[in-house]
Each structure stands twice: as C-alpha cells, then as structure tokens.
C-alpha cells in the first residue's frame, strides 16, 4: 500500500473531524493562544504513543502468539463498531466535566486521538508492511493532517456549523466502515486458507 493510502487510513481512524467538537468543548475556557498550545502539545503526545505502538506492538503480538488473521479480524470488528458509532450517533460527551483543568494526555491524546482503533490499525499495518520507514512517514503525514484539522477546527465549525461537522463525520465513518470490512474479509480469508 502506498504511503498516502496508509496515511488516509490512519487519518480516518484518528477521526479529528469527529473529535473536534468534543475537544473544543474541553478547552473552551482557555484563551485562544493557550488553546492552540494545548492542541499542539496533545497532538505531539499522541504522535509519540502511535510511534511507540508501531515499534513495540509487534514484539508484543509475537510474544502472545497472535496470528495475522486474529489481528485482522479483531481490528476489523473494533473499527467497524467505531465506524457505526460515527455514522449513527452524534459524538457523545465522554466527559461532562466542567472543571477548568488543563486536559493533560487524558482525554485528548488518549483516547480521543490515539484510541484503541488506531493502535490496532497501526499494529496491523506495521506487521504487514516490512518497511518501517514507510509506516513512520505515513504516521507523521497523518499527524500533520490531524494537527491542521484540530487547529482549523474552530474556524471550520463556524463555517459549516455543528450539524455540518456531524455530517462530515458520518461520511468519514462510512469510509472507515469500508476499510474495517476489508480487514474483516481479509482476516476471514486468511483463516479459511489455513483450514485443511
């Protein structure tokens, strides 16, 4: 797969458009400069987490003797559930805390940006793709996109409104649904081929 396809996949799973409204509510009490700083900091932290999973995920999977088809099926099912949530439910408020507290790492970096779906996705791709550099550059490319969306989110929300953002998220959910189904089909295919 090309770097762009990988980056597009990671971008869809990270779901910055869907997460933007939640993140905006979380940091709305801070002044604008501070908001930008928080966004950048959290994006960087989640980037490190993603890279960590790229390199250590495989070690772990080998240790636990997890097969390719199991990984593919798991990732597909988890992502498909996430995609359905994106399509059929408006982003629920994970956090109704109104405390004016600096959201450090939790909940923006984890689990909003680097959630379980993204970690599985990265592990799967890291295992399939022999070239580490390719995955790493795809991840970095993704994060450039994520950062751009998050920083642009306040303007975007003003332009198309909250409903517009939700509609965009639903469409992204659809594409994510396709990607996850591809993983499920592939996992099933691999599994069937192992049968005698």
């Amino acid at each position: 797969m090309s770097i762009y396809a990988l980056a597009l996949m990671f971008f869809l799973v990270a779901n910055p458009l869907g997460n933007a409204p939640t993140i905006l509510t979380l940091i709305k009490d801070f002044d604008f400069e501070r908001q930008k700083k928080i966004m950048i900091r959290e994006t960087l932290i989640s980037l490190f987490i993603a890279l960590f999973f790229q390199f250590f995920g495989e070690l772990f999977l080998n240790l636990l003797k997890i097969n390719q088809y199991a990984l593919s099926l798991t990732g597909g099912i988890v992502l498909f559930t996430i995609a359905l949530k994106m399509i059929f439910h408006p982003p629920e408020n994970l956090l109704n805390s109104k405390a004016k507290r600096d959201p450090f790492i939790v909940p923006i970096a984890i689990p909003l940006i680097s959630g379980p779906g993204l970690m599985t996705m990265i592990m799967i791709q890291a295992r399939e793709e022999a070239n580490d550099l390719k995955i790493t550059s795809a991840i970095i490319l993704t994060w450039v996109g994520v950062a751009a969306v998050l920083i642009g989110a306040p303007y975007l929300q003003k332009l198309i409104g909250k409903r517009g953002l939700i509609a965009l998220e639903q469409v992204m959910g659809l594409i994510l649904g396709l990607i996850s189904m591809q993983m499920i089909v592939k996992g099933a295919d691999l599994f069937i081929k192992t049968l005698p």
Binding site: Y4, F88, A167, Q170, I175
Partner: protein, 197 residues
C-alpha cells in the same frame, strides 16, 4: 446496472417522501413564494454534494484499494441499518429536534437529502458502474424526481394525510431493507467464490 435501476435506488435512499414533513415544518413560517426558492437552493446544494462525492468516492476508494466484496458487504450493512431506522423511527433520529428558522445547507441539503447513506451509495456505485454517463444521468434524474416530490409536498400531504405519507415512507423503507440484504448476500457470495478460486 441499468439507468432505471440506479435512479430508483438513489431515489429510494434520498427518501423525499419521508422528508416532506420535516421540510414543511422547517419552512412553516416563511411565505410560500420564498419557500420554493429556499427548496430549490437547498436541493441544488444537495446535488452539488452528490456530484462531488461521486468523483471523490471514486478517487478515495481507488486509493484505499477497496474490493467489490467489501463494498457490497459494507454498503449492505449500512443500508440495512438506515432502512431499519426508516421503518422504526427513533427519537434521536436526524429529524428529531430540527432547528427553527430558515434552513441553509444544514439540515435540509445535508444531511436530510444528501445524507451519509446516499453519499455512501453514490461512492459505491461510482466504483461498481464504469460508465460516467449513466451514473450522472441517474443522479440528476433521481434528484429531479425528489425536487418534484418536495415541490408538491404540501399538496401531497393534504391529499394523503400525514399518516399516508408515513405509510409510503415505511413501504419504501421495506424495499430498502430488501435491497440491503440482496447487496449483502451478493458480497458474501463473491467472497465465498473468491475463497474457492
């Protein structure tokens, strides 16, 4: 796929009959002359979104290298869930809590007319149907039908009543469920065949 098939499917998913009542309640306070121009504007925006997604869909699906099997299975599942929502409407649907005031883009153009299921189906067809001409023709045709239905929405509602409209919508939902199952099974069939190959 024939032009007729594509047009009918797109029309069913657009669900203009179901949208009549939400449209009428949205523009209830606006004089009829202006209602018509609002409707046309919103529908044109929806058409633009549909055509944009037609080309975008082809591009994205090519980049992601999605297979026909996946496309069929996924769109079958999504369409099924959407149709179930039409059959058994819930309180938290798109049509609940509509904002008051003149609609602009949201909610009438997107997501009521050009919702995720319609845009997704268009993307799917963009991959399945090689001919640009019949696909674009089907989009424009089904769109014009939807405009007609919405233009005469008030009269239609007076004719058959709100419950009649609802019954029509349910019937269309049922047809959509069948389409969804058919598509899902075609995907499974293709998958099984590819396993034996």
């Amino acid at each position: 796929m024939t032009l007729l098939y594509l047009t009918v499917v797109l029309f069913l998913i657009m669900d203009p009959i179901g949208n009549i009542s939400s449209f009428l309640s949205l523009v209830a306070d606006i004089p009829p002359q202006k209602q018509r121009s609002i409707l046309l504007r919103e529908m044109l925006i929806a058409l633009a979104a549909m055509i944009a997604f037609y080309f975008l869909g082809e591009f994205i699906l090519n980049v992601l290298e999605t297979s026909m099997t996946t496309l069929r299975i996924t769109s079958g599942i999504i369409l099924f869930l959407v149709a179930i929502k039409i059959l058994f409407p819930s309180v938290d649907s798109l049509r609940a809590n509509l904002p008051v005031g003149e609609p602009f883009i949201s909610p009438l153009a997107i997501p009521l007319i050009a919702g995720p299921s319609l845009l997704g189906t268009i993307m799917l067809f963009a991959r399945l149907e090689p001919s640009h001409l019949s696909m674009l023709g089907a989009i424009v045709l089904s769109w014009s039908l939807a405009v007609l239905v919405l233009l005469f929405g008030a009269r239609l509602q007076r004719l058959v009543g709100a419950s009649g409209l609802m019954a029509c919508e349910r019937l269309m939902g049922l047809i959509l469920v069948m389409l969804a199952i058919q598509r899902f099974l075609e995907g499974i069939q293709q998958f099984v065949k590819s396993c034996y190959a």
